[in-house]
C-alpha cells in the first residue's frame, strides 16, 4: 500500500504546474550565471585571485565547468529553499484547501501511511531538484567551458584540485546538499500540517531560514551560543568536501545534525497530524 500511496503522491506533485516552477527557475538561474560567466568570468576569476597573482603563476583552464558549478552550489541556501517550500508547503495544507482530505482519509489507509507517503514524495521532489541542479550545472558547464582543475578560494587558503579528483567531490556535495534541502522540505512539511492553506507554510519556512541566516551572520556573543543549534549553519557544510584532507568528523557531525532535524520535524508533524481533526 505504501508504494501505491507514494506513486499517487508523486503523480499528484508532478501533475501540478507549481512543481515545474522550481525546475524552470533553476534552469534559468544556471543558464544566466553561465552566460554571465562566459562573457565576464575571466574578470571575476582574476578579481578573486588578484592577491595571489604576484606570488603564483596560474596556468590552464581554471574558468571551467567545475568552477562554475562550485559557484552555483554556493547559492543553494538563498534560492532553492523557496522552490522546495513551494511544493512541500502544499503537501498537507493543499489537501485542506482543496477539501480532498475527506476523500483521501476515508480510505482504508492509516494517517501515518498518508503522511509518510507525502513526506517521501516531497523528499523525492527535493532530490530531483538537486539532481536537476547537478545536471544543468555540470552538464551545461562542460559544454560551455569544458573541464579542468578546480580552484577553491577560502579565507586563508587556496586549493587546486586535480580534474580527476573533483567529480566524486561534486557527487558527494550534491548528496549533502540534498540532505540540507530535505531539512527545508521537512520544515515546510511541518508548517503545512498546522494550517489550511499553502501560503502560510511557504512564508513561515522562508521566514525561519532568513532569520537563522541573519543570526548566523551576526558575530556577537549573544548569538554565538545559539548558532550551533541553527540548521542553516550546516546546510553549507558540503564545502568541507572541497578541502584536503576532508574533516570527516565535522562533516559527519553536520550530517547527523541535519538528519536529526529531519527526524524531529517529521516526528512532530506525525504527532500533530495523527491527532488533527479534519474540519475542511
Amino acid at each position: 500500500m505504501m508504494t501505491e500511496l507514494i506513486k499517487i503522491e508523486l503523480y499528484k506533485i508532478f501533475k501540478k504546474w507549481r512543481t515545474y516552477i522550481g525546475f524552470i527557475a533553476i534552469g534559468l538561474l544556471v543558464a544566466i550565471i553561465q552566460t554571465a560567466m562566459y562573457f565576464e568570468g575571466q574578470k571575476s576569476l582574476d578579481f578573486m585571485t588578484r592577491n595571489l597573482q604576484d606570488s603564483f603563476l596560474f596556468v590552464g583552464n581554471l574558468l571551467n565547468g567545475f568552477f562554475i558549478s562550485y559557484l552555483i552550489l554556493n547559492m543553494l541556501t538563498v534560492h532553492i529553499p523557496f522552490l522546495i517550500a513551494l511544493v512541500a508547503g502544499d503537501l498537507l495544507a493543499g489537501e485542506s484547501t482543496a477539501g480532498t482530505y475527506r476523500i483521501l482519509l476515508t480510505r482504508p489507509v492509516s494517517r501515518l501511511q498518508v503522511l509518510s507517503s507525502k513526506f517521501i514524495a516531497g523528499s523525492i521532489y527535493t532530490f530531483s531538484l538537486i539532481l536537476w541542479l547537478a545536471i544543468v550545472s555540470l552538464g551545461i558547464g562542460a559544454i560551455l567551458f569544458g573541464y579542468g582543475e578546480l580552484i577553491v578560494i577560502k579565507s586563508s587558503t587556496v586549493i587546486i584540485f586535480d580534474r580527476n579528483d573533483v567529480l566524486w567531490r561534486f557527487l558527494l556535495a550534491y548528496g549533502f546538499a540534498a540532505l540540507g534541502m530535505s531539512v527545508v522540505c521537512s520544515l515546510a512539511f511541518f508548517f503545512s500540517s498546522l494550517v489550511e492553506n499553502a501560503i502560510g507554510p511557504i512564508v513561515a519556512t522562508m521566514a525561519v531560514i532568513i532569520v537563522f541566516v541573519i543570526v548566523s551572520a551576526i558575530n556577537i556573543d549573544v548569538f554565538s551560543s545559539i548558532k550551533p543549534y541553527l540548521f542553516t549553519n550546516y546546510i553549507l557544510s558540503w564545502r568541507l568536501i572541497f578541502s584536503d584532507p576532508i574533516n570527516t568528523s565535522k562533516l559527519l557531525n553536520a550530517m547527523l545534525i541535519l538528519l536529526g532535524h529531519i527526524v524531529l520535524l517529521y516526528g512532530v508533524t506525525a504527532f500533530i497530524f495523527k491527532r488533527k481533526d479534519i474540519l475542511s
Partner: protein, 307 residues
C-alpha cells in the same frame, strides 16, 4: 429487508470544540438493509457525527462500532466496506474524473477494475465527460462524481451527506431511485443525511432527528409520522351545515381551519373513519377525504420544541 444485524452502533458519542458540545452523548443504531435518515437543523451536529463515523474527527467520548467491530481498533478493515460523501464533493481539480476515481480505487482496499470505474461513471451519467478535468465540472457533476467514488468499490455501508445537493429535479429523482435500488437489489445499508426532509420521508425506513448534538427522536419513519398525527382535509357539499354540526360536537377542538368547502382537522388515523361516518349519519355528503402528513411539519415541531 431489515434484520437485527447492527451495521452502525453509536453509544454516548460526544465531541466538544473548545467549550461547545457539537455532539452530546449521541447514541443510535443502524441495521442491515436500512435506509437510515439522519436529520437535524443546521449546526445540529450531523456533519460532525458523520466525520467521526469516518475517523476524520476524533470523539472526546463514546464508542462507534461498524459491522460489529470497534472503529478505532479495526479502522482499515472497516473502511474497506464503507463508501461516503462528506458534505460538498471536492476532488483533485487538476485531474480528470477518471483519474480521480482511479487514484482512489488504488487505495480502496479492494480490487477495482477499470471496467468497474467506467461502469460507475456510466451509472452516474459522467462517462462521456470522464476525461475532462474536474475543475471544468458543475456542482451537480461533482456531486455525481462524489456518488461514484462512494460506490465504486462496492461497499456494504454507504454514508451519504446531502447527496442530492446541486442536482436538478431529474437528477435528484435518479439519486433517490439509485439509493432505493442499492438497498432493495444490492442489499446495501444507507446512512442518509439530508436537509430535504421530503427526501428522507420518501426513501428512509428509519430515522433519527438530532438537535444541538442530542437525539430528539429516533425510530421508524412511519411510526414517527403516525405519532405526529395527521392533517386531514374533508371536502363537503354543505359547508354551513357541516360547520354547525362540528361546533356542536366533540370534533370542534380538532378543527384547524376552514377554507372554501374544505374543513381541515388534526386527527389520528383511527379518527378519520369515525368523523367521516359522523358526517354521513348527519346527511352531509363528503366528496373527498384527503389525509396529508409531512415529515417537515413533524421535524419543525420537534426541533422547535427542543430549542
Amino acid at each position: 429487508m431489515n434484520t437485527e444485524e447492527k451495521i452502525i452502533e453509536i453509544k454516548g458519542l460526544t465531541k466538544k470544540f473548545k467549550d461547545v458540545k457539537a455532539v452530546d452523548e449521541l447514541s443510535l443504531n443502524v441495521y442491515k438493509g436500512d435506509i437510515f435518515g439522519f436529520l437535524g437543523p443546521n449546526g445540529a451536529g450531523k456533519s460532525t457525527t458523520i466525520r467521526m463515523l469516518l475517523t476524520l474527527i476524533h470523539p472526546n467520548a463514546g464508542t462507534i462500532r461498524l459491522f460489529g467491530k470497534p472503529l478505532n481498533e479495526e479502522r482499515a478493515l472497516i473502511l474497506r466496506d464503507v463508501g461516503a460523501i462528506v458534505e460538498k464533493p471536492d476532488f483533485y481539480n487538476y485531474l480528470s474524473a477518471y483519474k480521480n476515481l482511479e487514484i482512489l480505487s488504488r487505495i480502496s482496499g479492494k480490487d477495482v477494475s477499470s471496467n468497474r470505474i467506467m461502469e460507475i461513471l456510466e451509472t452516474v451519467g459522467l462517462k462521456e465527460r470522464r476525461a475532462s478535468k474536474v475543475k471544468t465540472y458543475s456542482h451537480g457533476m461533482k456531486q455525481r462524481l462524489g456518488i461514484a467514488q462512494a460506490l465504486m468499490h462496492d461497499p456494504d455501508l454507504i454514508i451519504l451527506d446531502e447527496p442530492t445537493t446541486g442536482l436538478d429535479p431529474q437528477g435528484m429523482k435518479e439519486i433517490r431511485d439509485l439509493i432505493i435500488h442499492l438497498r432493495d437489489e444490492k442489499n446495501k445499508t444507507i446512512f442518509l443525511s439530508s436537509h430535504l426532509l421530503s427526501e428522507v420521508e420518501q426513501i428512509a425506513n428509519r430515522m433519527i432527528i438530532i438537535n444541538k448534538g442530542k437525539t430528539v427522536v429516533e425510530g421508524h419513519v412511519q411510526d414517527l409520522l403516525n405519532s405526529a398525527g395527521l392533517k386531514v382535509t374533508f371536502e363537503v357539499d354543505d359547508l354551513d351545515s357541516a360547520k354547525h354540526l362540528i361546533s356542536q360536537s366533540r370534533w370542534d377542538n380538532k378543527i384547524e381551519s376552514i377554507t372554501n368547502n374544505k374543513l381541515i382537522f388534526n386527527l389520528s388515523s383511527e379518527e378519520i373513519a369515525v368523523l367521516n361516518k359522523y358526517f354521513v349519519e348527519n346527511d352531509i355528503l363528503v366528496s373527498a377525504v384527503i389525509p396529508t402528513k409531512s415529515l417537515e411539519e413533524y421535524f419543525l415541531k420537534i426541533t422547535v420544541d427542543t430549542v
